[in-house]
Symmetry: C2
Subunit: 204 residues, 2 copies
């Protein structure tokens, strides 16, 4: 029987939503999820280990990786490159392990193009959570603050479109529980299991 | 804002798979899931309360319910009728509560026709679990036993087709955790949340 592939899980959302915090909390939990290691051209900070925190690359090496399409997605921030090496992701999935990528929305969109079978989770920003709270009568914001939130919220809602799941980040522990539940549920999806079990009886 | 409807969750699987045991264990957990109350023409047993354990009906009343399509599904066992009153299910969903139905595969198929938006969970029988275990080299069954299991397994795999999820009943506590995860994940589905949040910004 062919080994079942792992799931590619992409955790994204607008800047400042708390992706890093939620992903960090998830890492502390007992799960079988692996974490993607990014490549970067920035200098290692004290204690950072190559291949653990990042794959540290020279600028030329990184540009070679871009050219050879060895990156699932990449971006430039303050003069340094950051990206997700595709090989590491592929190897992990082929081993049958799930892997999570915590990336910006633009990066997530690129990953969706190449891995449409991935599980895309949109971490819902507090602006939307608060907006909802206010509407159900629990908020205390002024009209002015709400109006600004509303503009941002409209953009954020548009971003949601290409995701499979929306996880509210009202509390980090709750967000982590929801992500874990999504991964468990995805492993129980009939379309994922049906062919595997069908093979099982046909092969015999 | 319109109140979000609850989820209709259907837990089914072949006879003897342990639906009742798993559902009973789920009931003991802290969840917000409501449980469907069946209608029946059989006599109440000692301690059984009308509207709690069952809705107890006269034969004529039950046949009237069948005629008026007031049952989501029904069947006759050893001279008594058993069925799922549609009103109770509808009311629960309209209140925004999730409701679980633990029913036979034929009944589940009828429910799927009327509530295609339901979440259909197939509880995987031990025969398939053991079959898989044997193939990965952990089983201890004789060839003869395996052959019989294989025939049954083929039928069971065919049944799976119309379900959204397959939950392995290797251990009751694990099956319960998987069902809870599926319910949590379904509440995070983007298609369920997107329109709600879109309305939120448009209505303002």
């Amino acid at each position: 029987m062919e080994k079942e592939k792992g799931l590619l899980i992409v955790l994204s959302g607008p800047a400042g939503v708390g992706k890093g915090t939620v992903c960090g909390a998830l890492r502390k939990e007992q799960t079988n999820i692996q974490y993607s290691v990014s490549a970067t051209t920035r200098q290692p900070r004290k204690g950072e280990v190559d291949g653990v925190n990042y794959f540290f690359k020279e600028k030329e090496e990184f540009e070679e990786m871009i050219k050879n399409q060895e990156l699932l997605e990449w971006a430039e921030y303050v003069g340094n490159y950051y990206g997700t090496p595709i090989d590491y992701v592929r190897q992990t999935l082929d081993q049958g392990d799930d892997i999570i990528l915590e990336i910006e929305v633009q990066g997530a969109s690129k990953v969706r193009d190449r891995f449409p079978e991935g599980i895309f989770i949109f971490l819902m920003p507090p602006s939307l959570v608060e907006l909802r709270n206010r509407i159900v009568g629990r908020g205390t914001e002024t009209e002015d603050v709400i109006d600004k939130r509303m503009t941002v919220a409209k953009e954020e809602i548009e971003m949601m479109k290409r995701y499979d799941y929306v996880v509210e980040n009202d509390e980090v522990a709750l967000a982590v529980e929801r992500i874990k539940a999504i991964v468990t549920a995805e492993h129980c999806k009939r379309e994922r299991l049906f062919e595997k079990y069908k093979q099982l009886v046909e092969v015999q």
